[in-house]
Amino acid sequence: MASPDLLFNLRNLFYLGAYQAAINNSDVPGLDADAAAERDAIVFRSYVALGSYQLVISEIDSSAATSLQAVKLLALYLSGDKESAIVSLKEWLSDSAVGSNPVLRLIAGIIFMHEQDYTEALKHTHSGGTLDLHALNVQIFIKMHRSDYAEKQLKIMQQIDEDHTLTQLANAWLDIAVGGSKIREAYLIFQDFAEKYPMTGMVLNGKAVCCMHMGSFDEAETLLLEALNKDAKDPETLANLIVCNLHLGKPSSRYLSQLKLSHPDHVLVKRAVSAEDNFERALQAVA
């Protein structure tokens, strides 16, 4: 019998968005050095995902492993210190000793993705190597509206481990991106997660997005309200609720102001702001 995968649970929690649960359950006994390093990276990435940037920045000192340094860079970047984060990121990447560290490359991909520099992001991530990197590639290609490339990345993931949570998730992302009958499959993937693991806001949001794309806004609303119960401040839940309520013809302004207050950088907020400018500009153009 092969040895049990001790980090399995932790990884799933992280990928499915149960960050606090991942942190709480990180104390896994009997880990070897590699697994422990991976564990630490997941824990700090969870903290970053929860927005505890300062904690990550202060906890990781200069003697920590490369992967943790990378996570620290991400925290730095997201906390607003973009320039210096990118400068040191580039420095790290050019260092041949550590530049190939998969976590570092993953973080580089994420940061350049935030910068909307997809070419730069892909430069570091395209060769893959870990499921995380491939999953990020899938995401980048989806963002670039290149589902054909995303599909190739997914195929690679499926060859590595078809039943892996991340593979399944990436599959769902791609399914949603290409639409059509695939939406149903994405829904089933999220449904599987919902049955197998504790419900997370991410899974509920995933299901809700599928429902919206299938035209079932009522069901989507139910799911989103459930997600809102779990986390009343989750930006995606709020954003999707706004969209959902618009389609249902229900008022959504309160969610919108909530989102504007808590996450002024959210895509939806940015889109709304730019749309207003756009409208004024269009008025002038037409007039």
Binding site: G180, D192, M214, R271, A282
Partner: protein
Amino acid sequence: MLTKFETKSNRVKGLSFHPRRPWILASLHSGVIQMWDYRMGTLLDRFDEHDGPVRGVHFHATQPLFVSGGDDYKIKVWNYKTHRCLFTLHGHLDYIRTVQFHHEYPWIVSASDDQTIRIWNWQSRTCVAVLTGHNHYVMCASFHPKEDLVVSASLDQTVRVWDIGALRKKTVSPADDILRLTQMNTDLFGGVDAVVKYVLEGHDRGVNWASFHPTLPLIVSGADDRQVKLWRMNDTKAWEVDTLRGHMNNVSCVMFHAKQDIIVSNSEDKSIRVWDATKRTGIQTFRREHDRFWILAAHPEMNLLAAGHDNGMIVFKLERERPAFSVSGDTVFYVKDRFLRFFEYSTQKEVQLAPIRRPGSVSLNQSPRTLSYSPTENAVLICSDVDGGSYELYIVPKDSAGRTDYLQEAKKGAGGSAVFVARNRFAVLEKSSNQVLVKNLKNEIVKKSPLPIAMDAIYYAGTGNLLCKAEDRVTIFDLQQRLILGELQAPAVKYVVWSSDMESIALLSKHAVVIANKKLVHRCTLHETIRVKSGAWDENGVFIYTTLNHIKYCLPNGDSGIIKTLDVPIYITRAIGNNIFCLDRDGKNKLITVDASEYIFKLALLRKRYDHVMSMIKNSQLCGQAVISYLQQKGFPEVALHFVKDEKTRFNLALESGNIQIAVASAKEIDDKDHWYRLGIEALRQGNVGIVEYAYQRTKNFERLAFLYLITGYMDKVGFMCKIAGQNNNLMGQFHNALYLGDAMKRVEILENAGQLPLAYITAATHGLTEIADRLAAELGENIPSLPEGKTRSLLIPPAPLTASGDWPLLRVMRGIFEGGLDATGKAELEEDDEAAGADWGDEDLDMVDASEAMANGGDGFDAEEGEANEEDGEEGGWDLEDLELPPEAETPKNAGNALSVVFVAPPPGMPVSQIWTQKSSLAGEHAAAGNFDTAMRLLSRQLGIKNFAPLKPLFLDLHMGSHSYLRALATAPIIPVAVEKGWSESASPNVRGPPALVFTFSQMEDRLKAAYKATTEGKFPEALRQFLNILHTIPLIVVDSRREVDEVKELIEIVREYVLGLRMELKRKELRDDVNRQQELAAYFTNCKLQRVHMRLVLGSAMGLCYKQKNFATAEHFARMLLENNPNESQAKRARQVQQQCSGKKDSCELNYDYRNPFVVCGATYVPIYRGQKDVSCPYCGSRFVPSIEGQLCTICELAVVGADASGLLCSPTQLR
């Protein structure tokens, strides 16, 4: 062979199944006839009156009778209910071999070594026919199941078929005198009641057995030549068909199987053989070590066989009869007659789904054993024992239900058991290597997982998990983590049943039910004496299961009981409320209605849902001693109280639950000493002094009563008691009470009265009552007792009680859990109603070019770069060694160095979906959703002449905001906005982009219209106007699917426009306070708008009133008439008629610009009539009409378009473009 029951006894020569009860008769060589219950395995009775071996025995089909024949030449008929031999038929002159009742007539046929077969009438107890012709022992004779035939086998090497038609005719119409006369004649001449029809010759030795086929004209016989022969007959002749060779010794008995196309024979070679009746080949042989077989019997209804041998008998069946089934949601899938079928519980409809493969080889027990179903993929796994265990995978297309013609090639594989573990994954147990193979729906292996311990079966245990069964335990194994999640000792589990929420599991083994939770933590075990067959969880968490003969329940705490007795075994598939759905052995779905109230009641008690308990007590006739004793046992005497009428039981229960009030009431009813006494004790325990006192009073227990008064401080009552004691001449009591009172005088007095003068003197002297002491001393004379010296004297005064009055603080008594329990009502969970009301958009196939496909030419050469490995980190020295140990995937990242980034060319981005939307569309709403506001505005301007976009701003923004949903992908990476498309359907092909799903839909407009109508009716005109305008503003941006809807949209514009115009005029009218003429005009114009009738009536009413007040009688009369034409209600009509009466013939007092005889429209800006023939201009969008001077201005009705502007017309559906 599946042995069901076995006995050890003397040699068994005769066997007979009871047609309905689970009984079998075995006649023994020792002369005893045994009656067994083969289900319970008990000997019910034995009949021992024959002298010597009993070879033949047979149950009657309907009467409580059986017949036996033995070596004592006697045929005995018995009543098994009275355990008596009713009578004996004499006549045979040698051993009797077999006896058999006729299925219809009161006949018995017997075969004897005296070379005859006799037919007896057991009602008249006479022999009615003797069949002669065999010239050796007749070994067996039996009636044909339907026709008037008898078949017999004899050691003369022949099988004979006899026609007994004449005998039957004689029995049917015995009253026919003439016939009887001729019959009497024939009787005299040797009898033709039974004649030999055929003589079947072919066996080389004596024939031991012959029997008919139950339906076909076939006979099978077995003989000492070790052969089984098959014969066929028609009306005129009979002939040998085939010979079955294989037995190594004399064949003793042979018969056709009633339900399957097989022949079963047994022999003195110690074997039972099963033959295929069509192919005439041996299928299977069962051997015994030492026992020669003598007799076979088949159950007339069920699939059971019995065989007698040298040392007893066995009851067995050849094949399993449990249908393979699997419950999924509202349906159960099962296999019946080589078809996969399903049954819907809600509709109770059965549907044949698909044919399944027939096993290639003909052998027994090849039918499906288990079935596993994946609802989302509509795939079915069927496992059977074919080829030592194999599975077949069928994927049923959704639309093929009911089509039987279609036979699909199943995907097959070997494996002990196979079960779905996820939507599109199933696990197969490979026993040889003890590992589980996980496969996908293409039957390809995805993963292999070795199992920690040797397992012999696997079951589903939630997604990704398996329940594995070993000899003595079950474990739950996580296939992904390869971890054991739970383990439970449970011997030889055969079936597992999960509750629908997957929280509880029931493990069924042969004689036990084990209930555990999902982590396999043991909850309870039930042991059964007979086989456990099946089970299902009901919606309340009660496990309903069946044994061979009962439906039973098991509560979560392990309490169990019988719900219903069963005649035949069934397999429960689902239990809901009082309904139990099951499959029977023929694969038929049945619904059994049971009375669930008992276990629901117990469950409610267990869960402390006293509100349910309460309502059940109120509403149902639960009462019964069993329930009361259950309640008492389970510690609910207070609940039991509510059931009991009998006062003594009630009293006992009341005491047990401490309910004093009820106990007092009962004690009063019963009124005997013992009960009062016990009441007193309980009341004392609770400190309820009043009741204690009452109880003591009722029993006249003065001593206790006095003591009670003492300790509770009622000294006056003690005094009273003292008096009573005095009246009763109870000296001792009197003295006690005096002592309690501390009244020395009284004591002296009592002692004195009692004649105890010395004691009285001492008492008096001690307490310093010198006067009395002196008097007593005088009376005593010289017998004065001497007082003890040197003692100090003290007055004996009882201590003062702590509480001087009233009850003690009472113990808190459970005053009936119901008061508390009732608070728990209303906890009924709200059913969550989250069925999607899916927007039913049609299948919009716009044939959009796949943009991402078209763009996919750049950025090749991406995959080629994988190969360049670099080993440049030589300077890392010692670390290198460690790196080599890493798993392979950790090495690949090394490719990613800077060297490669030069070669890598990222593909150019594809086209966003929103851009695709705008490329194909000339619908303004879709452009707005895509964020292309300028093109949207241009479209609106061109199509509808809209120039004022300010009112549209929020709508544009909403459309844009609602066009994308947001998908969080990898943690902390930017989220992905995904375009929400319209017209999704299951069959839509991916990568073909549909139009955007807009947040405004036509159906919403209809709802808003209703709301606006309502506001109008309620007279909230500004509100109504706002709502109508909102509709009018939204319409340019909506998109509908069909031409018909386009027309509806246009209609809607007109309706709304009329209302907006009308409401604007009405609001204007309200502003004009002084100009009454203008007011009347505006009211009159309002009536010219096309409105709903209900609104029209209101408008007419107000116009009528206004005009009447201003004495414009002719116009008012006109409005009154119109109002009457518009179905007014009672009061409106009355008012209108009054106005009509008042106004008829009168003239208007002033001139209005209103000529109702001349059709007109009202100008939307100036509110003046534009009569037919006058010039006007109109709004290109809403179609409102204006006087020509308004041209070029913004339309005052819709506020959007410019009056008189050029426009191509409303475009709101892609269908308009085709």
